[in-house]
């Protein structure tokens, strides 16, 4: 632990703040307490979600000071800073100009300035940002998904081991894990109240997300960064960026990860020059080690029916779950086993920060979300590999994939690996033809 001295300072000064809450085992590896006793926070990735996470950190009520911000774009950083400063003011926001770090490399300096970091850049950057934060011994909140390809997953899994060894709290924004309907139902599933889970269906079917138009002054790199949802090196496709939430619930219910994936996907209705390379639908079966099968479906079809939820069938009963606080377990005769109260439930986006910061201020080591989040992200990536290639992918084949989507150089004038054709359309995967691993 290279920050031993810093940690001792923290112990000394933090005792004043945490007072009676402080446990004898108080330990915050790598953290440093400023003279004013605040925990220092840095946010990496200052879009709407990163900014929202900063708000949630402050709303925990713990003594926190925002000291550094990093984003690829000046305007995104400035808008975020303004929103945070307007709401929380100079007592909580102390980010001098030299700590407003714009560009691809600013994250290192921002992480160095903080005790706790929020990692909320587009997912393609998460592995390197997470690795850096772990190497620097920081407490971490990171958004999902945690990578966009197998190489990124391997990096996150390796860093997750280091984080465990260093006892760094890591919370990942798969907020259903912090939502009471899911927690209560999963407790009962693990207790065997539905018997063995033999099948399930998980969905994220809706109309799709934002599109940012190309402007003449944009380099190709800037265009892809602004429109990151539509490029796999940044987003991982919507099966990874969005549907990972529901896939993670399947893995939670199965208490494991699938051994193989097979499926079908394509670009049926979202076919424009402005929608990059990602598919608009993926339909998969994930087979688990015990032979049980989960059906996974995600699509962005405007005008069609929406469905975002999870269902599972066990030998003794079934369950319906959704982010709208559904958690209804019934036996095969229709008798209720458990029905979650949907009214007045906590906001899971707040709960995940309440729990993380609560552990940090008490010096507790409680959260190691990175590994399971990496494996659920990997499940989604394996699904993408299966729909893109049209092949059956095993877990090991997918995890050992070597196709590298990331640009060789990160710079505004550097060339991403995927470029539009002469007609302005981006090439995209074609099942039966494309090599994905």
């Amino acid at each position: 632990m290279k920050n031993l001295n810093s940690r001792r300072d923290f112990l000394k000064t933090s005792a004043l703040v945490t007072g009676g809450m402080m446990a004898p085992s108080f330990l915050v590896p790598g953290a440093y307490a400023a003279p004013a006793n605040e925990l220092k926070l840095a946010v990496i990735g200052c879009g709407g979600r990163g900014t929202g996470a900063v708000f949630q950190a402050f709303e925990t009520g713990h003594p926190i000071k925002l000291v550094a911000m990093a984003d690829a774009f000046q305007d995104r950083l400035d808008n975020s800073y303004k929103a945070i400063f307007d709401k929380y003011g100079k007592d909580k926001v102390d980010v001098p100009e030299e700590m407003k770090l714009v560009g691809f490399e600013g994250y290192k300096k921002a992480i160095a300035a903080a005790d706790v970091v929020i990692l909320a850049s587009p997912p393609g950057f998460r592995p390197s940002h997470f690795e850096e934060a772990v190497n620097q011994g920081k407490q971490i909140f990171m958004e999902k998904p945690v990578a966009t390809d197998a190489a990124g997953i391997r990096k996150v899994l390796a860093a997750a081991e280091v984080a465990k060894a260093k006892k760094l709290n890591v919370v990942v924004g798969l907020q259903r894990r912090y939502q009471s309907n899911y927690i209560e139902v999963m407790k009962r599933i693990q207790d065997g109240q539905l018997g063995e889970i033999v099948g399930g269906q998980v969905y994220w079917n809706d109309g799709g997300v934002w599109i940012r138009e190309r402007k003449p002054e944009m380099t190709e790199m800037e265009y892809q960064m602004r429109n990151w949802y539509y490029f796999n090196w940044l987003c991982g496709d919507h099966i990874t960026e969005q549907h990972v939430h529901n896939i993670d619930i399947a893995n939670w219910a199965k208490n494991g990860y699938p051994v193989k994936a097979e499926g079908t996907g394509g670009r049926q209705v979202r076919t424009g020059k402005n929608t990059g390379e990602i598919f608009d639908h993926h339909v998969l079966t994930f087979t688990y080690a015990d032979g049980s099968v989960i059906h996974s479906e995600c699509r962005h079809f405007p005008g069609a029916a929406n469905r975002v939820d999870e269902t599972f069938q066990g030998t003794k009963g079934k369950v319906y779950l959704s982010a709208g606080n559904h958690g209804d377990m019934t036996d095969w005769k229709g008798n209720s086993i458990y029905s979650h109260n949907r009214e007045n439930q906590a906001n899971p986006y707040q709960t995940e920060h309440d729990e993380l910061w609560g552990a940090i201020v008490k010096g507790e080591y409680k959260f190691a979300d990175a590994e399971r989040a990496a494996k659920s992200t990997m499940t989604a990536i394996m699904g993408r590999y299966a729909t893109y290639s049209g092949k059956v992918l095993t877990w090991d084949e997918a995890l050992n994939g070597t196709v590298d989507l990331f640009p060789d150089t990160l710079a505004w004038d550097a060339t991403p690996k995927l470029l539009p054709g002469a007609d302005g359309f981006y090439p995209h995967a074609v099942p039966g033809k494309s090599k994905v691993v």
Binding site: P302, N347, P348
Partner: protein, 318 residues
Amino acid sequence: MKKYLAASGLILMSFQLNESGVFEAYTQKIPGTEVTFDLAPIPAGSFQMGSNDSNFPDQNPIHEVKLDAFWMGTHEVTWDAFELFLDKQYEESMTEGGVPEIVDGLTRPSLPYLDMTFGMGKEGKPAVGMTQYGALQYCRWLYLKTGIFYRIPTEAEWEYAARAGSKGRFFFGDDPANLSEYSWTKANSQDGTHPVGQKKANPWGLFDIYGNVQEWTIDLYEEDFYSRSAKENPLNPAEKLYPHVVRGGSFKTPESEIGSAVRGVSDPTWKRIDPQIPKSQWWFPEAPFIGLRIVRPLNPPSPEQIKAYYEQEPIADY
């Protein structure tokens, strides 16, 4: 802020010129699509607004209000129409002959990251979860598509139309036992929206007035507004984002909280679980019960006033 105030006030000014000529029910088609909706004429007149129920001081006192004529949507706006507005590419794919450039430049909602149907379905069902700003911009989109000035009603217009000449708690009398013939409420909705127009209409041909979804009005909510509101075409202009008046019950409203005079309010908690900052100007991820119904004044304001009304800047929401 000033701009917002001014625009909200101006929009009720009417002009002598009656461009439409005929004041009767009609069907509005969204050009180039199969989507239509119906409007009923609501005649100019006076009515007794509010109630003397001391349990609801915000409905006191009963006071006479005089209103100009307008048309009102017979049904709540459905996803069939609203989704064309919210997704430009979808609108283009569904519109024969293309979408005119003037519509192309419109401010559209951010496509919601969450499922804003809340699992309740789309076809024929009311669009839900939009902000008042989103409701306003939908009207602007309709104006650009049709050339006709549509807006959401004032609180007074809504109550006048809901009452349809009645004086009691409901347009069908005072007995809540009959409510299920007219409305989807907590008592009979099975906790979800239903296709519009399945229940009986009110005497002026308006469906789902007391249920299915609550409906946006223009007005700012103030408990004591009736003690000082204007006698003609009253409006409480909004200078802040909350609370606005919402009217009618929804599929979640208990029967005891429903009536022609009942005033609902919008609330910032409806955006509580929005994980982004700034919070969406367009969506309430915890308000599956709010929708909209449109009106068309018989005598529309001038094009300049219409433009000012539609171009109100949204108020930032952190």
